[in-house]
């Protein structure tokens, strides 16, 4: 036993040359008397320490003068015990939410939080357990200051936007680097539909021990050219020596949308469109031949009503309801087995998660298995293996920009029956619609997306293997050599079949597409850690090298002309219309180092740096150096504060560093031609202009922070100010298209993020009734401070979307005409002219209105607060999460809120249209097919996007040990969990957490275009442990 604790102490602590003066021993347990294994025991004011063994026992040689032992354990309040005469000290540690003495994972090592000089946010795995969401990022939402998480829409398994301390890039990635057990993993979406899926959803987050988010340069510089967006280190669970444990969790629940929009019913629809037609007739005056738009529109009503009679209101279809599934069921089951002995420990986890989406035919299923094995083959050598396999299955619906996506059903007319409800076939265009069959155009206004749901399928299956083997060799006291070989193999299949009456298949007797994609990402590293204590000087050094190679290959084919819809594979296609294969690759060769020094854990100093070389950079700039330095001062260790009973911990820290963003395309520095065939003959076209100087983006980040603890850290927290200046932005700089190219990738431009973060954790009550609060809030101001010479704006040039990159504005700022409401005299839409000197002058001519900045799609403030209550086995956790200060653009407003412009069903607020002189409203006069104020790039379709959400409520009951002992069960807990139960917002769309999947990119977000709302989920679950 002693031997183990000794080795552990050497690995994790600054085990100095202890001067044995007095041997103290004892045990460390939790409230229930369970041993706490691996608790840290330190002699206060020295670097002497040890850890408890598998029985919770410890023994420590206390040097002369040592009077106080500090006991700490992750997730528990640390305890200081003043030594009396007894040499036996048994302690009971109380659980707590967050602690300064916890161990955080840093790049290539671990560190005690109190000695950190960088900013690292930690999320404990247990906070994520059992959450009814598909992916780890969603589970993290609202739990860390300055970490913005947004699901682009409510389709399970879809892309998630994560921004740590704001977006720093315009054209390279803004997603953080994800490192799972040391492997920089693949996170780029690989599926082919316009709705990107999230490769991280392959990870079963119930296997996670902790997530450590490296936010400032001091923490992240060791990841060099890939650290600018922050680094998320995910560590999976390990077994602990002792009795084997089996834990089983099962939960089942159901979801519904967080919100609905209100649309016109049949009577209102007829009223609005008839009025729109009459108004158009009035404007056009008498047309020879007696043509009137009223007749024309009524003829359309006839057409859209199919076999029903719109004049009697026979049909009033609620299309919105048809888009959503009827009580979709979600289930989760996890079975974990962990344990081990002194030599070998293991953690084995099996997971199953089936999240049925709120949209029809939309679901995500994951099966996963993990085995983490650690073996101490001798006192000096530890080897281990982390191995996980996952299969995910996504039943995908079309992207939000497709007629076939369920939520675009709301564009249909309420006059149109979804199906032929009569007993007779109905002639609709060239097709005879049988009783019970779905109507399509021309009876439906648009393609009936229900046909897509019934007659097509899109299945994406991924297989993910994450494996790494490591060996850790102790070469000399304090010197440990680590070697790791890791792979991340990501296989994805994407199969689409569209039957013969679907939109995609109707002209070609069915259509099928199939794609196989493989990413082989492998990674090796070799690094040494050295720690040494000389009296009061503590030194910890890391030096190493790493190599990564990622190779992506895909093959796809497509075919049409299927004999029957039952034959869905391309083998049955008479006409193979396409086939392709694709290969791309990148490599990184890196060298890194870190030196941490502290004097008495009072004065802290850290330096880290990395040299990265990458195949992605031009020949003139192939290697980059990314250094960071930081300082810390633990004031509470100073004499003047040391005995302060109120202030238990106070640390000032400051860091500065240079980090990079290398997440650009793989060959953007080369001048290239690509193959483009024509009529079966092969051809070549210029595809890229060279730039041999191309290199990473540089971010210089300053962070000043304060860590504090009051009342023995019962109240603790952090305040940080940071400033991130990202220069040499990799911009697809727009060049005159007359050159034959539209953009050239150049290192130009600058973006600044400045912000403040505040974290507060409190143990409000202790004892029988425990109440803990954890609060975080962050402000970030994002600004584009430089673009190419003479360039003021990057406008993708869309008349539907209005996110642009504009100097002096945040990335993605909404840029369009400023809506001034409706002229009360004539119902015309008005915009502010916004020309120089025009004041607040308005115009009814959209073209006369200058575009101006209309709002920021990124929130300025984000935050979360979690309260947990424990009482006699009952536990309640309530988490709120919110974002503030952002705007949302309803880019579908020009269709669905267009004062009766075309036959799309309209939102109910359009009933408030101008009708007679004097009417005060924001909705212009309804004039059919005239584009009367329907221009999408207008603040007419912008709304506030701030929201506060009751993100999670979990209420559980843990059966008392006494009861369980009788039935031979270690643990039994019943719980009910609710996700997204309440949303407080002024946004009148479906849900304010929105960025349409079809459009999402670095600069386009905060857009709602028929995007599925988030699910509101309630589930019941049980945890059983043996």
């Amino acid at each position: 036993m002693k031997k183990i604790s000794l080795v552990f102490s050497m690995l994790f602590l600054f085990a100095g040359m202890a001067v044995a003066q007095r041997a103290v021993s004892g045990s460390v347990t939790d409230n229930d008397g369970n041993p706490l294994i691996g608790a840290t025991i330190l002699v206060q004011g020295t670097s002497v320490g040890t850890v408890s063994d598998i029985d919770g026992a410890y023994s420590i040689d206390v040097p002369e003068g040592g009077e106080v032992l500090v006991f700490s354990y992750t997730g528990y309040a640390s305890l200081e015990v003043t030594l009396g005469t007894s040499n036996v000290v048994n302690v009971v540690l109380e659980e707590s939410a967050a602690q300064l003495s916890e161990v955080v994972v840093v790049g290539y090592g671990t560190q005690i939080k109190s000695t950190l000089t960088g900013n690292i946010a930690k999320v404990a795995g247990e906070e994520l357990e059992n959450l009814p969401v598909p992916s780890v990022e969603q589970a993290m939402q609202g739990r860390s200051a300055g970490v913005f998480v947004e699901a682009v829409n409510g389709k399970p398994g879809g892309a998630i936007r994560v921004r740590i301390r704001g977006a720093s890039s315009i054209s390279a990635s803004n997603q953080p680097l994800y490192v799972i057990d040391g492997i920089p993993v693949t996170v780029q979406s690989q599926n082919a539909s316009g709705a990107p899926l999230n490769p991280l959803a392959d990870l079963n987050f119930n296997d996670i021990e902790s997530i450590d988010i490296l936010k400032d340069a001091s923490a992240s510089a060791i990841y060099g050219s890939r650290a600018a967006n922050g680094v998320v280190l995910i560590t999976t669970k390990k077994g602990k020596a002792g009795t084997s444990k089996i834990d089983f969790n099962y939960q089942v629940g159901t979801s519904q949308p967080t919100g609905y929009r209100e649309f016109l019913n049949a009577a209102e629809y007829v009223e609005l469109f008839t009025e729109a037609a009459v108004n158009l007739d009035e404007i056009e005056g008498n047309v020879p031949g007696g043509f009137t738009w009223k007749d024309w529109v009524e003829a359309r009503f006839d057409r859209y009503s199919g076999p029903s009679d719109w004049r009697t209101g026979q049909t009033d279809t609620d299309w919105q309801q048809l888009a959503f599934a009827d009580n979709p069921i979600s289930q989760q089951a996890n079975l974990n087995f962990s344990g081990g002995n002194n030599q070998t420990t293991f953690y084995a986890g099996l997971g199953f998660s089936d999240q049925q989406g709120i949209l029809k035919n939309n679901g995500f299923e994951r099966m996963s298995a993990r085995l983490n094995l650690d073996h101490k083959s001798s006192d000096n050598l530890t080897v281990g293996l982390n191995f996980s396999l996952a299969r995910t299955f996504t039943d995908q619906v079309s992207n939000d920009n497709a007629f076939s996506t369920p939520l675009q059903l709301i564009a249909q007319s309420p006059l149109t029956p979804a199906r032929n409800f009569t007993n007779d076939p109905f002639q609709s265009g060239s097709r005879l619609i049988q009783p019970g069959e779905l109507f399509d155009r021309p009876t439906a206004v648009y393609y009936n997306g229900l046909i897509e749901l019934e007659e097509s399928q899109r299945n994406v299956v991924s297989y993910r293997t994450l494996a790494n083997g490591y060996a850790r060799l102790k070469l000399a006291p304090g010197l440990v050599l680590n070697g790791e070989i890791a792979t991340d193999i990501y296989n994805l299949r994407d199969d689409l079949f569209q039957g013969s009456i679907t939109f995609g298949g109707q002209a070609s007797n069915g259509y099928a597409y199939s794609r196989a994609n493989q990413i082989l990402n492998y990674n090796t590293k070799l690094f040494a850690n050295y720690s040494k204590t000389f009296g009061s000087h503590n030194l910890d050094m890391t030096l190493g090298t790493e190599y990564q190679d990622s190779r992506t290959q895909s093959t796809d084919s497509e075919g049409q002309q299927f004999p029957v819809d039952d034959l869905k594979t391309i083998a049955s296609a008479a006409d193979i219309t396409g086939g392709s294969s694709f290969l791309t690759e990148f490599t990184f060769v890196s060298y890194f180092t870190r030196v941490n020094y502290n004097f008495n854990r009072k004065y802290l100093l850290s330096f880290s740096g990395r040299v990265d070389g990458s195949s992605r950079f031009g020949i003139n700039n192939r290697y980059g150096f990314f250094p960071a330095a930081s300082l810390g001062w633990v004031l509470s260790e100073e004499g003047f504060l040391k005995d302060n009973n109120t202030l238990s911990f106070l640390k000032l820290r400051a860091s500065y560093g240079l980090i990079g963003n290398a997440a650009i395309g793989n060959f953007e520095h080369l001048g290239l031609f690509a193959a483009e065939g024509y009529n079966g003959v092969s051809g070549l076209q210029p595809s890229q202009i060279p730039n041999p100087d191309l290199t990473w983006e540089n971010t210089a980040q300053i962070d000043i922070g304060l860590d504090f603890g009051f009342l023995k850290d019962r109240i603790n927290g952090e305040i940080d100010y940071y400033q991130k200046v990202t220069s040499d932005l990799l911009l697809g700089v727009p060049v005159p298209a007359t050159s034959g190219f539209t953009t050239q990738t150049q290192n130009i431009g600058e973006v600044t993020n400045k912000g403040v973060e505040f974290v507060l954790n409190t143990n409000n009550t202790v004892g029988q009734f425990k109440w803990n609060t954890s609060f975080n809030v962050a402000y970030n101001r994002n600004e584009v401070t430089k673009l190419a010479d003479g360039q003021d704006i990057i406008d993708p040039g869309s008349s539907r979307l209005m996110n642009v990159v504009k100097l002096g504005q945040p990335i993605g700022v909404f840029w369009g005409a400023e809506y001034a409401g409706v002229d009360p005299d004539n119902g015309d839409p008005l915009w502010y002219v916004n020309k120089e000197g025009s004041g607040r002058e308005t115009t009814n001519n959209y073209s006369d209105a200058e575009f101006v900045a209309l709002g920021n799609p990124s929130p300025e403030w984000i935050g979360g607060v979690t309260n947990t209550f424990d009482w006699n086995g009952f536990n309640l956790s309530i988490q709120f999460q919110g974002v503030f200060g952002n705007m949302i653009h309803n880019a579908a407003g020009s269709f669905m809120s267009a004062n009766g412009d075309w036959f799309d069903n309209q939102t109910r607020d359009q009933l408030d249209r101008w009708q007679k002189p004097g009417d005060i409203t924001d909705v212009p006069r309804a004039i059919f097919i005239s584009g009367h104020g329907t221009q999408s790039r207008s603040s007419r379709f912008l709304s506030e996007g701030s929201y506060v959400r009751l993100k999670n409520v979990t209420f559980g009951y843990e059966f008392p040990k006494k009861v369980l002992d009788n039935i031979g069960v270690r643990r039994l807990r019943l719980y009910v969990i609710g996700q997204n139960l309440l949303t407080f917002t002024n946004y009148d769309g479906w849900d304010p957490e929105v960025t349409t999947d079809a459009f999402v990119n670095n600069t386009t977000f905060g857009v709602d275009f028929y995007a599925a709302p988030q699910p509101k989920t309630v589930a019941f679950g049980i945890n059983v442990g043996f």
């Binding site: 265009g429 155009r441 070609s508 990458s614 192939r622 076209q685 034959g740």
Partner: protein
Amino acid sequence: MKSFKYLFFLMAFSGTLVSCDSLLELEPAQNISEVLALENDANIKAVLVGAYDELGATNLFAGNTLRNSELLGANNEVQWVGTFNGPREIWNLNMIAENGDVQGLWVDAYQTINIVNNVLDGLDVVNESDKATVQGEALFIRALVYFELVRFYAKPWVAGAANDQLGVPLVLTPTRAINEDSKVARASVSAVYAQIISDLNQAKSLLPESNSWRADTYAASAALARVYLQQGDFAQARDEASRVIESGKYSLTTAYSDAFNRDANSTEDIFSIQVTSQDGTNSMVTFFAIPDFGGRDGDIDILDEHLNLYDPADERLSMFYEGNGAIRSGKWTNQFGNVGLFRLAEMYLIRAECNARLGTAVGDSALNDYNKVHQRARLSAANSVTVEDILFERRLELAHEGFKVHDLRRLQQNIQGQSFDANNTIFPIPGREINANPNLVQNPGY
């Protein structure tokens, strides 16, 4: 001891990885370098094929240039009912500089021009025997693209005027780097037309009589005929059209409908964009047809104002069909069919119009040429013909093939109630282009 075995294994493995610059030297698998792409005969010819491919982009001749002409000059004969904002703005004559279709045409046009400029610059490595043909095809493509650009983005050519109004930037050399020289200003309309005519005249003399689906000397003549007609140069237009007709290489299809929806060129086709199920998109089908034929939703309805023009016996009338609640053009129902750009009927009508206007009978009389087209539509022969008759015939024969707005302009007829050269009937210079190139002047009204 055992531990050292692990260590050795580790070191051996890691050792292979350290300090290897060569690990960073990767070549792309889907692309080749500029030098390689232009280094030999075969590669230059491949680049030329690449130019045809770009010429057949949806924004260009796979249909959108044709569609845009029909939408601009809709004159209540067609109406846009689709959801796309871009074409709707074109049809409504309320385009903004950010219009995606307006930008797409510009971008793809200059991409095509850069590709052919690469070909023209690389002629030195082309086999001597093929050099003329390669050069001729490249010049033909360049002229075709400039003709579209100058007609959409500039005030129309007015016969007899100086035509020194702003045209489009003339770029005649390949782009190797982006610098100040890349910021080309707009040349005058007359300079652009001069370049087009010079390119086509060269192409006409360089190209062979026959060149499979590629441009041949008659395609160049057909293009010249169209350009001269747009300029009101009736004599030259007549002569070039006559050269095509008199070659005897082409003949009108027996049935009118046989001239359309072809997987391969018909006897009547002089030059077409080739669309196959593997490559290319017929975007006329996309917008004019209904989903049964691979179209969108039936985005363009044909209105009575147009349909009422036909004699009930006219075979051309019978090609229209009803689909998705409106009348549709039957010329665009094969989603993998070619997009015809020049066909013989147009040449007959050009020659007839010019002969009639000039009072000549080069090749044949105006009446005979007119009747060839008229009778093919199963209408009885006319005994006499006026310029107006010929123009009317042209309006029917070439309906929905992209002639509409250009004919209105040259005939100085109203465009949707606006004058033939009204500001809002001319495309804006794309906003992105104005931003990227300070030397460009925006069109009036934008």
